[in-house]
């Protein structure tokens, strides 16, 4: 399982109720169901990924996360996860507020745009940075927002949610291994993972 998902999984208590927004093929939920006996469900837009989830025994709804999140009653879940998707969300404040309405806690992870290689690329080449975490040209990227660890902390104050825990990691895009960055995370972390409430 992807390194960032391993960290997220380690934060979740056995038996919890979990919603994974943009769950892909249900990797995290599958692991959590088997290993921690959680009650979980996912939301995913792409039909083939939805099929894979259901095939594996992971409950999932095909749909848009911004719309699907609306129907759940308050505090339905213990955790609502948004992993590596925030940078593609059109209205992040609204989504995070919904996340915390239907879940007691939220978990958000995203690629850190202030990583040294991103800074260096822009400075040295003058082109919009392309990295392993954000591998697209400006004209074909689904990532409509660039976010840094510091941006997210500032955003939490502006929107009014609490950061309970944060971990900065350095890992390649889909890699199973990585390391936790304690020294100058804004410079050396490729991803940030936040537990919010």
């Amino acid at each position: 399982m992807r390194f960032d998902l391993q960290i997220i999984a380690s934060w979740i208590e056995p038996g919890a109720k979990v919603l994974d927004l943009g769950c892909g093929e249900g990797e995290l939920l599958y692991f959590l169901k088997k290993d921690k006996q959680i009650e979980g469900t996912g939301i995913e837009r792409v039909e083939s990924k939805v099929t894979r989830c259901i095939e594996k025994g992971v409950p999932v709804l095909q749909g848009d996360i911004n719309e699907e999140i609306q129907d759940y009653p308050d505090d339905t879940f213990d955790y609502v996860i948004l992993s590596q998707t925030l940078q593609q969300v059109y209205e992040p404040a609204m989504l995070i507020q919904s996340q915390l309405r239907i879940g007691k806690k939220g978990i958000v992870s995203f690629p850190n745009f202030s990583c040294w290689n991103v800074r260096l690329q822009l400075l040295a080449t003058g082109y919009a940075p392309i990295t392993k975490q954000l591998p697209y040209e400006w004209y074909d990227t689904p990532n409509i927002r660039v976010i840094t660890l510091k941006d997210f902390r500032k955003f939490s104050k502006e929107v009014g949610f609490k950061i309970i825990k944060e971990v900065a990691i350095n890992t390649q895009n889909q890699a199973k291994s990585g390391k936790i960055i304690k020294f100058l995370p804004t410079l050396f972390a490729t991803y940030g993972i936040f537990l919010i409430g």
């Binding site: 009650e39 083939s48 259901i54 759940y72």
Partner: protein, 395 residues
């Protein structure tokens, strides 16, 4: 639904099956219908495949649509040319695995393929019922299925599965007998017909009733309303397809000719196809049954009948786990209806999965081979079966 009965490409089949029947509601203990009318005796034709396990926890009930029957899979004899109507889904190792589950499928009440319906003899008159047959509802069909399962000693159903009108029965099962239903797979269906669906059914019924042979439903001793029923079926077939599928399948191709004929023969392939389907259908289906079943489908309104107008309230009556599937080109039961259903299930706190399958084949897509549908049904059943075992142990 159309007929897509084909042999399994790999030759895998559950093998020989037998049509059985179960009779109940002998007078004076007739079945009391939703309308208040009494009906009895009632015969239900059914078939089973696979083995019921010792703790009777592996029963799967399949509900057929408008023109289906109890013959869901397998063959009646060694030289039977055609298998059951969902043989591609039901069999050893298939989506609904007969090595693991005990499958029950019965002909619906009001139909004409072994179960009691308008063409059955009325014990009071010793003539076929005709229009003396009381109007039956989806709820009544399910009530008859419940009597059958009681007779088979099945107290819990691992999953109720069906598409179209069969899907309505699935939903009805979940809210009417919540203690019995562990999970459910409603395919290409709705909690209530749209005006469009009712409109098509009404035109089809009018076609039957306009046939002079229909004779107010009293035709069993003479010529039958074959023309009316054939036209009704042709209308049905149009609604089961889609603009896209008709374009791909027929386009403007001519049938066995190089130019138009300047008369009213079937020039276009699509005309010829519809005429053929209509003519074939009248050989196996009763016109009155068509009227009764389409009316039952039009009357069905889960919100009104079970939730005081609210789907959320209706679904709060069940604890079943759901897999809801719709198809992109289905204009008879469009995806927005499935989404509304899923939304209500979410609000009721139910465990629900939903997938809209990209398919060109319209409403009929649920009967056609689909790797993703098969994989999802299989995976979903495995999960609910595993979880069911755990939950039973935990109690």
């Amino acid at each position: 639904m159309s007929e897509y009965i084909e042999h399994d490409k790999a030759g895998v089949s559950v093998g020989l099956v037998e049509k059985k029947s179960f009779a109940f509601a002998e007078p004076p203990n007739e079945m009391i219908l939703e309308s208040g009318a009494r009906l009895g005796p009632v015969t239900i034709a059914y078939e089973t495949c696979g083995e019921l396990n010792d703790d009777k926890s592996n029963a799967v009930l399949i509900c057929h649509a408008l023109s289906g029957d109890s013959h869901v899979a397998g063959y009646y004899s060694e030289d039977d040319p055609k298998p059951g109507w969902w043989d591609i889904m039901v069999g050893p190792g298939k989506g609904i695995d007969t090595d693991k589950y005990f499958i029950v499928c019965s002909n619906i009440l009001g139909s004409c393929i072994g179960s009691t319906g308008p063409c059955t003899y009325n014990p009071k008159t010793v003539e076929p019922y005709g229009l003396d047959f009381p109007v039956v509802t989806i709820g009544d069909m399910v009530k008859a299925q419940k009597a059958l399962l009681d007779h088979l000693g099945i107290k819990k159903i691992l999953s109720v599965i069906g598409g179209s009108i069969g899907g309505m029965q699935v939903l009805e099962w979940c809210v009417s007998y919540p203690e019995m239903v562990v999970s459910a797979i409603p395919l290409a269906t709705t909690t209530r017909h749209s005006a469009l669906a009712i409109a098509f059914n009404e035109v089809a019924r009018q076609a039957i009733m306009a046939d002079p042979n229909w004779n107010n439903g009293d035709y069993y001793s003479g010529a039958e309303p074959d023309l009316g029923l054939a036209v009704a079926r042709m209308i049905g077939h149009i609604t089961y397809l889609s603009d896209e599928s008709m374009r791909i399948k027929f386009g403007r191709q001519l049938q066995d000719k190089s130019d138009i004929s300047y008369n009213f023969d079937a020039d276009f392939q699509v005309e010829s196809y519809l005429r053929y389907q209509g003519a074939k259908f009248v050989q196996r289906f009763d016109a009155n049954s068509f009227l009764y079943i389409t009316k039952a489908a039009d009357y069905y309104d889960l919100e009104k009948q079970h939730g005081n107008g609210s789907a959320v309230e209706a679904f709060s009556k069940t604890k079943a786990k759901f897999l809801v599937v719709s198809f992109t080109s289905d204009w008879l039961y469009p995806t927005y209806q499935s989404r509304a259903m899923v939304q209500a299930m979410k609000k009721s706190g139910l465990d629900v999965s939903f997938c809209e399958i990209e398919a060109d084949w319209g409403h009929d897509a649920f009967l056609l081979p689909s790797k993703s549908l098969t994989a999802m049904v299989k995976g979903f059943l495995e999960r609910v079966n595993n979880e069911n075992g755990k939950e039973e142990n935990a109690l």
